[in-house]
């Protein structure tokens, strides 16, 4: 522990279970602050843009997007992979760090899980709408007995994707809701308004925090964490199979699964950082989301960023080492072709900028971390663009080469999905506790002189 002595604490000193409870629940139970209405309004308008774009797409079809042959996969897939990847950090924080007994995760896991859920919701819009005619997509995506008697093609990675993403959405929602139950009971007990009492009371389902409750609850949480850990790795692995199983140069590669998972965690931590920094500021939660959390996340970003850099390196190496003309041309075209500027920007955002995180001074600057996290988010989006578009636009025959230019509807779907994500996020931070109250109590009790005896008893037994 002495090595940790110079690190900032996980929670500012002087908090007890009572003060932690009051502080976090007051964020929900006080009057709505003005900035909330402004933020929600802007997000909600962007969400309306998504709805308008959806109606347009339903009337005219996916032709409103810039996709065509040879680039049949455009922004929809780029955005889908980007959003799903962002979600992965939430599961990593709530599941893997729980299994590794990293107590610092406690104050960021709740909103990171919410971020997961909303990111998956945003990703799902692209999966649904890129099929063009959703009501026809149902029979080849979901195995239900239909009048044609046909079943989905289970040998296809696209089917695996449907199962992986829907399982991921379900388990993330369950994990998140289970984590909320004791806190909903806290809000039920604290709420002064009759509606709050009833609404939180119904959602808490009669939670009383009895010894029996906690024991089953802790067991279930641990099991869910154990289940979510391989799940989160499998989800982006399956997403990468969508590409890797195809025989397109630039896609057909065994590095894809680990490289996609690392990229997902990378972008996810960047998004957690992007959300955490303003959140702790506006809610005055600097005592709970301390510099320790930001520094730890910066280190994880740096580590996963280096794995991603290794992935890029291996792609380059394999293109040369394979001796395959098409593979070599793909890499040459990716760097020096018409989309070469996107690749250069990607290297700048994803590989070069995060190297600043080696410096402790940068890791200790909230503003620097905020900007780096946004740059990484942009970089990861560019990565997906490079993978999807540059691999497709110049394939085996020069006669079938083409360019992909996103239309305004491509952009409106992307901005709209941001609107969906942030609208849900604003509703979440207004009506639910952004930090897990009961888990913070277990941290705060360590600072509570009253419970020193229990710690002793534990040591003796």
């Amino acid at each position: 522990m002495s090595a940790n002595a110079d690190r900032p604490p996980v929670i500012a000193p002087g908090y007890t279970p009572a003060t932690v409870t009051d502080k976090i629940s007051s964020v929900v139970l006080r009057k709505t602050p003005k900035w909330w209405f402004l933020g929600f309004f802007v997000s909600f308008m962007a969400l309306q843009l998504l709805l308008i774009s959806m109606v347009k797409l339903l009337i005219l079809g996916v032709g409103i997007w810039g996709v065509n042959i040879p680039v049949g996969w455009g922004f929809a897939i780029v955005n889908f992979v980007w959003w799903i990847g962002i979600g992965h950090a939430g599961t990593l924080i709530s599941a893997i760090l729980l299994l590794l007994r990293q107590t610092w995760r406690t104050s960021i896991n709740r909103f990171a899980e919410a971020m997961t859920l909303f990111a998956v919701a945003a990703a799902a819009q692209f999966v649904l709408f890129h099929t063009g005619r959703q009501w026809l997509a149902v029979y080849w995506l979901f195995p239900y007995p239909n009048t044609m008697g046909v079943w989905p093609q289970f040998r296809s990675p696209l089917m695996w994707d449907v199962f992986a993403v829907s399982t991921y959405a379900t388990i993330s929602a369950l994990f998140w809701f289970v984590g909320l139950i004791p806190d909903l009971a806290t809000l039920r007990d604290r709420s002064k308004h009759w509606f709050g009492k009833i609404a939180y009371g119904m959602l808490a389902m009669g939670w009383r925090g009895s010894a029996r409750h906690w024991h089953n609850y802790e067991t279930a949480s641990l099991l869910l964490a154990g289940l979510a850990t391989p799940l989160v790795v499998s989800v982006h692995t399956v997403v990468s199979f969508d590409f890797a199983v195809g025989i397109i140069p630039g896609w057909h590669s065994t590095i894809f699964p680990p490289y996609f998972v690392a990229g997902a965690i990378y972008s996810g931590f960047a998004m957690v950082m992007t959300l955490a920094i303003p959140l702790r500021k506006v809610f005055g939660l600097e005592d709970f989301i301390t510099m320790r959390h930001l520094q730890n996340m910066a280190k994880i970003m740096l580590a996963t960023g280096l794995i991603v850099a290794y992935g890029y390196g291996i792609e380059l190496f394999m293109a040369w080492y394979s001796g395959n003309t098409f593979e070599q041309y793909m890499m040459h075209n990716r760097i020096l072709g018409p989309y070469g500027w996107v690749w250069s920007l990607l290297i700048l955002c994803n590989i070069l900028t995060p190297q600043l995180l080696w410096l402790k001074k940068i890791r200790s600057s909230v503003l620097a971390l905020f900007f780096i996290s946004i740059i990484v988010n942009i970089g990861m989006w560019l990565e997906r663009f490079v993978i999807v578009v540059t691999s497709l636009h110049r394939d085996f025959l020069p006669s079938s080469w083409g360019m992909y230019t996103p239309t305004r509807w491509d952009w409106s779907f992307f901005v709209g999905s941001l609107g969906l994500f942030f609208s849900l996020m604003f509703l979440f931070i207004r009506f639910l506790p952004v930090i897990s109250i009961f888990e913070m109590r277990t941290i705060a009790k360590g600072h509570d002189p009253a419970s020193a005896d229990v710690a002793e008893m534990k040591g003796a037994s």
Binding site: P17, T21, D22, G149, V150, W151, P152, Q153, F154, R155, M159, W160, F163, A164, T167, T170, L174, F177, V178, I181, P182, A185, T186, R188, D189, R190, G201, M202, M205, G206, R208, G209, S210, A211, R212, H213, W214, H215, N216, Y217, E218, T219, A220, L223, L227, A228, P230, L231, S234, F241, F438, R441, T442, A450, S451, D453, V454, M457, K458, S461
Partner: protein, 205 residues
């Protein structure tokens, strides 16, 4: 198999949720008494009180805390949780469902020759089998936790104690239920007062 499930269900019926049972002679109970509850300011006082209450011979007791306390679970003597078993069953059923869904649709109900691949392409079926295993196990864990905890239960007699809302803040509660064989309305109340509790009160049913 029937006895297995019967035992599984029977053994999880916790004292807390049962109907008041027959009481020993001489225990003159008020008609609507559910139990006696004591409030403690410190978790270690609660753990000590649980030991004292059990030493006195009470068995049908329940403790309430704002956060999980491992020592309390050991002190109160509840058995191991059944959630892991239910999760395992869910996982096995999910895995079987996932695999045989694909096997039956691809090899039995509507075999399609796709590029000469075997109808039972079991290697391609593994990702979905895995996802279904996780899905069913996760749902079993959550539903199992809720059912074993008797949730949802919007109303419970302890909610009638006004100070009980502090159980979700920083107070620790111990309740002896009226259907405990050793329960005597007055005696139990006075005994609970000797345990160092800050408040002791009756819980109306």
């Amino acid at each position: 198999m029937r006895t297995f499930f019967a035992r599984l269900l029977a053994r999880h019926v916790r004292p807390e949720f049962g109907k008041p049972g027959p009481r020993q002679e001489g225990g003159d109970l008020p008609p609507h008494l559910y139990g006696v509850i004591a409030e403690f300011a410190k978790p270690e006082s609660l753990v000590q009180a649980v030991h004292a209450v059990r030493h006195e011979g009470y068995q049908v007791i329940e403790a309430y805390t704002p956060y999980p306390i491992e020592e309390l679970h050991d002190a109160i003597g509840h058995g191991p949780s059944r959630v892991p078993l239910l999760t395992l069953i869910g996982g096995i059923l999910g895995g079987l469902f996932g695999f045989f869904l694909q096997y039956w649709t691809s090899a039995v109900d509507f075999p399609l020759n796709i590029g000469g691949r075997p109808y039972n392409s079991w290697v391609s079926f593994i990702p979905i089998t895995f996802e279904c295993t996780i899905l069913f196990a996760g749902i079993a864990a959550v539903l199992g936790m809720l059912v074993l905890n008797g949730l949802p239960m919007p109303y419970h007699p302890v909610f009638s104690v006004p100070r009980f809302q502090l159980a979700s803040r920083d107070r620790y509660f111990l309740m002896v239920l009226a259907r405990d064989p050793r329960f005597r309305a007055g005696d139990t109340f006075r005994f609970m007062e000797t345990l160092g509790a800050s408040h002791v009160s009756d819980v109306e049913d």
